[in-house]
């Protein structure tokens, strides 16, 4: 079974989102997603300062077998990206919710996070997919 931490929020496209103290959010891909993709070998990070709307593709994660877009979960501006993934994309396989984070976003709407899917709903979603 995939690890789905209770304290995070999720998207249908298998990103996880955590709310930071300063109101920004951190985004990565879920354990379920990294397992399906297999060994990751390349990550294309979004540029700091770029702005996206919800649903835009803003990063690409590539495993040996496939390339997948990562979608921006909320409207906002990129304020950080995980440089370590350039040399060690496998961090996403090893620690998808920790060292494998992909980018940080400053949401335009500070309340938007609360509307995202919670862990129970995401668990249901991946159970349906299996």
């Amino acid at each position: 079974m995939s690890n789905v931490p209770q304290e995070l929020r999720y998207t249908k496209s298998h990103e996880w989102i955590s709310l930071n103290d300063d109101g920004s959010v951190t985004v990565g891909i879920t354990d379920h997603a990294q397992h399906l993709l297999g060994d990751l070998v390349f990550v294309e990070l979004p540029e700091i300062g770029d702005t996206y709307t919800e649903g835009d593709d803003c990063a690409v994660v590539e495993s040996v077998k496939a390339a997948s877009d990562t979608y921006c979960p909320l409207d906002g501006e990129i304020i950080a990206h995980n440089e370590a993934l350039s040399d060690k994309p496998e961090l996403i396989n090893q620690d998808p919710y920790g060292e494998g984070w992909i980018f940080k976003l400053k949401p335009d709407d500070s309340g938007a996070y609360d509307a995202l899917m919670d862990a129970d709903a995401y668990n249901e979603l991946i159970a349906e997919e299996d």
Partner: protein, 384 residues
């Protein structure tokens, strides 16, 4: 983000059946062992096959550095019996079975249609003067069997598909010694088996020194009922199971073509890096497709298959375009990440005359790639 998942496997050799289709996937005799080992199973041309058992990169390294094994039961084994089997194969295949002079010797060849296009690639084994064995791809099975039946009508052959046999490939620098150990008495004497030779060590148990990884090793054909016993003995001897994911990156590094990806019925061997498998001599051997190939050879081949190494970070994928001076000059036929080299590599079909460098279009950007001559890796060592 999952929608492109598995694209590489689906778009290559294989037709995919929809989940809701009436088809029930075929299972190999080792299916239960794969599931018990935690394999991620995928639909592979109508077969449930292991993609990986955890990490396909680790499985890749296991084969380069030690010994790994693959369930290749989906491959099709066909025995041809008859007094005229040799002249038949000299007509059927672009390579010449006259090269097979001693029992057990194997040959790689393309099977062409009259237009010189590739119907399939295969290995032919010379068993004795009235018995040859073919191993053909699973996705082309029906087409191949029908073609062979039609072409052999004047040769009075018995064509026998060996559904009673299954295949396990054991590959890597330690593959042979570990297989000998697993086979016990049946493995005695295999030390002197030559490269590209097969030997029947027991009834219907054939060990061939062939493979699809660029490493030493065996492909073992054996009765279906013995497969799980041998698999367990190989595990016991320290051979690790490896999935089709690793098999694909290993064969790509080794510079070996994949039918359906690198060549098919739209190209000839001369456009597929397989010139070396076409036996032009003797000139009087009139194999199927010969006239068309000679015509193409004499007119000059317009496209060739080359190797590419991506100079930047990123991953080369099938169907990405090669660009030179703003024009498309080719397309990637097999692209992936090379675990041995730590870079992305590919085969690409490109206009003849292009050498050294080109650009590859990846998500709207042009990245530099070096044009090289495969193989990329042989016997664990980088060759480029």
């Amino acid at each position: 983000m999952m929608k492109i998942l598995m694209q590489r496997l689906i778009q290559t050799e294989f037709q995919q059946y929809n989940d809701d289709s009436e088809y029930m996937n075929k299972r190999t005799p080792l299916y239960d062992m794969h599931v018990a080992a935690g394999a991620q199973m995928v639909d592979f041309g109508g077969w449930d096959m292991p993609l990986n058992y955890g990490s396909q990169i680790e499985e890749h390294h296991q084969v380069r550095r030690d010994a790994g094994m693959f369930d290749v039961s989906h491959m099709t084994v066909v025995d041809l019996h008859g007094d005229k089997v040799r002249p038949f194969l000299q007509k059927l295949l672009a390579n010449d079975v006259a090269r097979l002079k001693s029992a057990g010797k194997a040959l790689y060849s393309c099977m062409l249609n009259e237009e010189g296009y590739v119907l399939d690639d295969l290995i032919v084994y010379y068993m004795n003067d009235s018995w040859f064995r073919l191993v053909v791809n699973s996705a082309t099975r029906e087409k191949d069997l029908a073609w062979i039946a039609i072409q052999s009508s004047a040769f009075d052959l018995e064509i026998k598909e060996r559904n009673d046999l299954t295949m396990i490939a054991v590959q890597g620098p330690n593959a042979r010694s570990k297989t000998h150990q697993a086979l016990g008495e049946q493995g005695e004497g295999l030390d002197d088996l030559g490269v590209f030779y097969m030997r029947e060590v027991d009834t219907d148990l054939a060990v061939a020194r062939t493979g699809y990884t660029g490493e030493e090793g065996y492909e073992i054909m054996l009765p279906v009922g013995q497969a799980s016993t041998l698999w367990a003995a190989l595990l016991e001897a320290g051979v690790k199971p490896c999935g089709l994911g690793a098999r694909d990156t290993l064969r790509l590094e080794a510079g070996m073509n994949l039918y359906g990806s690198d060549m098919d019925e739209s190209v000839t061997p001369l456009e597929s890096g397989l010139d070396w498998t076409v036996a032009w001599e003797p000139q009087e051997r009139n194999f199927i497709g010969r006239q068309a190939l000679e015509k193409q050879r004499d007119a000059g081949v317009v496209h060739k298959l080359v190797g590419l190494v991506l100079q930047a970070r990123g991953v080369l994928r099938n169907h990405q375009k090669l660009i030179m001076d703003g024009l498309q000059v080719g397309e990637i036929t097999s692209g992936s990440f090379s675990p041995t080299l730590g870079k992305s590599i590919a085969f690409a079909r490109i206009k003849a005359g292009m050498n050294d460098k080109c650009k590859v279009e990846i998500r709207g950007r042009l990245l530099a790639a070096e044009i090289v001559k495969p193989p990329f890796v042989r016997n664990g060592k980088a060759r480029i």
